[in-house]
């Protein structure tokens, strides 16, 4: 049975984000309580996710390295997208990530005080990844870079829980057909199973309607959406159970593909993609 490996400090797993940073990522998209630039929304989602993962792995004596995480951006160039002291590194243990945010912002929000009023609450928000929207969409090169990083990682961790790759894009590749590159990436495997590839398509196509974890390419608006559906990995039973928690319907043929994600759906998709693991 695949996807059963226990995740521990001796046998960690990893997450790799491939983030489209092309100029069209400056367009706006719904963010629940207003609109937000796609690039800013993606950066917020990833920073929040890194914060939650750091807290999840924290114990009284520090953060335990159950996971390594990489964030690769592609736009004007292709490469590691962390900022701060971990800039330039493609796969970083979660303890170092937790200890090295580029900065910690303080954000205030109003929450119910339990007596019918509102009270201001200040939360610390660490930042590791900044929004960028500049250049073309070299998706083929990004997939090749992802393949190289995952291949190295699996070579060092051959029995690990399979790497999970979350690919977020809004557009069309400008450097060729990425189909075979994406397939090669998702066919990499540890002894516990294949890499899980999630494709999240923030499409600009006016015909695109939001779709979450479909089980066929029927109705997808263009060849890019279809390619991203075809290359996404099938959902595991655990992922399907998590989708149900988020009130998203799936079938046993559903794939890790989301079309026209707003920021709420983007956060849900990242949660569904990254939570299923035997962290004990």
């Amino acid at each position: 049975m695949p996807y059963q490996a226990e995740i521990s400090r001796d046998n960690p797993s990893c997450f790799l984000f491939l983030i489209d940073q092309s100029s069209s990522m400056s367009e706006e998209v719904s963010a629940g309580d207003g609109n937000q630039q796609k690039a800013s929304g993606v950066a917020d989602s990833i920073n929040r996710w890194l914060q939650e993962l750091s807290i999840k792995c924290a114990k009284s004596d520090g953060v335990r390295d159950y996971y390594h995480v990489g964030v690769i951006g592609y736009g004007r160039s292709v490469g590691p997208a962390f900022v701060g002291s971990i800039a330039g590194r493609d796969m970083v243990p979660i303890s170092e990530i937790a200890d090295c945010p580029a900065r910690i912002e303080e954000k205030t929000s109003k929450i119910p005080d339990g007596a019918g009023g509102l009270v201001e609450q200040t939360a610390k928000v660490p930042v590791w990844f900044e929004p960028v929207a500049d250049g073309g969409t070299p998706m083929c090169r990004a997939a090749m870079e992802g393949q190289r990083i995952i291949q190295d990682w699996v070579g060092q961790n051959p029995a690990g829980f399979p790497p999970i790759v979350i690919h977020i894009t809004d557009g069309e590749a400008t450097d060729g057909d990425p189909m075979s590159r994406m397939r090669s990436l998702s066919q990499l495997a540890s002894s516990d199973g294949n890499v899980m590839l999630f494709n999240i398509h923030m499409s600009a196509n006016p015909d695109a309607t939001p779709v979450s974890f479909p089980d066929s390419a029927d109705g997808l608006p263009d060849e890019y959406s279809k390619m991203l559906f075809e290359t996404a990995s099938p959902l595991t039973p655990t992922m399907r159970a998590l989708a149900k928690e988020h009130r998203i319907k799936t079938t046993d043929k559903s794939r890790g593909f989301v079309l026209n994600a707003d920021m709420v759906l983007l956060a849900q998709a990242i949660d569904i993609g990254t939570r299923p693991s035997n962290l004990t």
């Binding site: 226990e6 924290a58 114990k59 009284s60 200890d99 910690i104 004990t280």
Partner: protein, 245 residues
């Protein structure tokens, strides 16, 4: 009442001894003439910080007198506050620590019957108590089937205020009577699940558990074998055996 107990414990494979986050109380007892005896195991949740300390506070509180949750929570708060912590621990500590708890109280009733007494078990979460007479399982709880363990049991929080109430649906209170030579086992979830699975498969492990004697090393070896064969989940593992002699 003559009570003999022995506790056994093994940290999760891959973790250091100081990373063990279960707790038990007491370690070992052989005492005659008792009119009451209390013992407990607790299982600190792995996603909490200072969960082992919280589990320790709970078993000592239950074992020495009775559970005083508000006081226990203040003890935990004093332990964790006042030290500078990195950003990721701030929110973790604000969420508190969590633990499962199973406690057992035995009472002598010699004035009524010299060979019998009463017991009461209190449990929150998935640490379990088994009452065994000879080869017969008389009572088990709060989880009664090996399939009923999951990753989200209700746990005792170091943050919620207010005392535990008897009518709280998450608090399981069961009582019964014991006879001389009865044995009680208190275990944290991984071993409780294995015991129940063996029992359901027609292989009750009572002889094996009795045969452990007082040897912690034997227990460690058995647990290692069970983990290797995947019969036992890799988790902190704790057992208290209580014999009424």
């Amino acid at each position: 009442m003559w009570i003999c107990t022995q506790a056994f414990h093994v940290p999760k494979h891959g973790n250091a001894a100081e990373e063990y986050e279960d707790a038990f109380f007491p370690d070992r007892v052989s005492q005659r003439g008792l009119t009451a005896f209390r013992c407990a195991v607790a299982d600190g949740a792995s996603e909490s910080a200072y969960a082992g300390e919280w589990a320790q506070i709970l078993v000592r509180s239950f074992g020495r007198r009775r559970l005083r949750l508000a006081q226990n929570q203040r003890t935990w708060q004093r332990l964790v506050q006042g030290r500078p912590v990195p950003w990721y621990l701030e929110r973790k500590l604000a969420n508190g620590a969590h633990a499962a708890l199973a406690g057992l109280l035995l009472r002598d009733r010699r004035q009524r019957n010299p060979r019998r007494g009463s017991w009461r078990a209190v449990a929150i979460g998935d640490s379990c108590i088994f009452h065994v007479r000879g080869d017969e399982l008389l009572a088990v709880g709060p989880v009664c089937r090996s399939d009923d363990f999951d990753n989200n049991p209700y746990l005792v929080s170091s943050k919620n205020s207010g005392p535990l109430r008897r009518d709280d649906p998450h608090v399981s209170i069961v009582s019964g009577s014991w006879r001389l030579k009865d044995i009680f086992y208190l275990t944290t979830d991984a071993l409780a699940q294995w015991i129940l699975a063996e029992y359901e498969a027609g292989r009750p492990p009572w002889k094996f558990l009795r045969a452990l004697g007082g040897k912690q090393k034997s227990f460690e070896a058995v647990i290692e074998d069970l983990r290797k064969s995947k019969a036992l989940r890799n988790d902190d593992t704790t057992l208290i055996r209580v014999e009424v002699k």
